[in-house]
Symmetry: C2
Amino acid sequence: MKLYDYPGVPNPRRLNIFMAEKGIEIPRFQIDLLKGEQFSPEFRAKSPNCDVPTLELDDGTCISQTNAICRYLETIHPTPPLFGTTAKEIGVIEMWNQICFTNGFQAVADLFRNGPDWFEGRGLIGPHNYEKIPALVERGRVRILNFYEDINHHLANQCYFAGNHFSAADITALVTVDFAQWAKVEIPEQHKNLHHWHALVSERPSVLSNS
Amino acid sequence: MKLYDYPGVPNPRRLNIFMAEKGIEIPRFQIDLLKGEQFSPEFRAKSPNCDVPTLELDDGTCISQTNAICRYLETIHPTPPLFGTTAKEIGVIEMWNQICFTNGFQAVADLFRNGPDWFEGRGLIGPHNYEKIPALVERGRVRILNFYEDINHHLANQCYFAGNHFSAADITALVTVDFAQWAKVEIPEQHKNLHHWHALVSERPSVLSNS
């Protein structure tokens, strides 16, 4: 296998934390997003959605989308499980993974990519160029703060997003919170549960080695 | 189990097609989205994200988010598999499920919810109100047409999104295409592969019984 990667940016970071939790090593090839290497004809042939990370299997099949690569890896390296083992765990983890991605991660991406710190014409990730929409900056900021309030409430009675075990949902949420700092949005001080969770997960070796 | 449902709208339709493919029946309770029943205190206690569909298990655990409910059901009713069985199938199906949802379904939602046919202050699904952003209407239309061109190309060499078998990715794509018709966007005539796939999947009993 080969992993096409660009360390440090949010989606590759999600995958790298996931792999570190499982102790998985795969040879890495860097696709320099700032130089636009994800749009080269060679890389598009592997990842038509111009996504990093992308995993190339030994038979040439390529899998992009962070969740999809994680699910592939969960199947071949099931321990420790990060998407759950019982049906209930599997459902609850996927619910929080989706909620954190949609309400959190995508809100941060809207705020960051539509503001002055990102490239013109790249308001959305993916193979096509879309102009920035300035109204998404402020909506993104409000969404993140609403998300923080909601998850602070959710974390009142449990250590992690899906109960008592660290899961893929915590990885998505952690990377979202740290990504929001790029866009200068911090967790409000009063959200004690969220601060406690963030400190707890930030101490994990998988996170420390991908910070 | 109990399923909180509102038949006909896109996310519940995804789940209902998925269940029909597996022959799963669960007692249904209707949450009338047009009357705002998803925001009632009773329903928020089950689904803090105010999502329909939501599945309530016999122990009271509630699972919302269509993909999460589908993964729960895939685990307890694995046949026929709709998320794959080998690691490669699992990865490829999740990749296309995510791409179709992000590039297709969410683009249609942007177009539809930010236009004149939807409620004021409900530019986004979920527990919070956000004003419509008119620029998302035209961006949504362009994104759908780009998505159609991309998936028409993808379908040139295979019957279904993830190869030779119908999967959860096809359900997400089918519901996206039909949802786009609500927003008056049709598949362009020249996209023959996409038209062929749409006709093929539209004939399935699971789709005919949820149309």
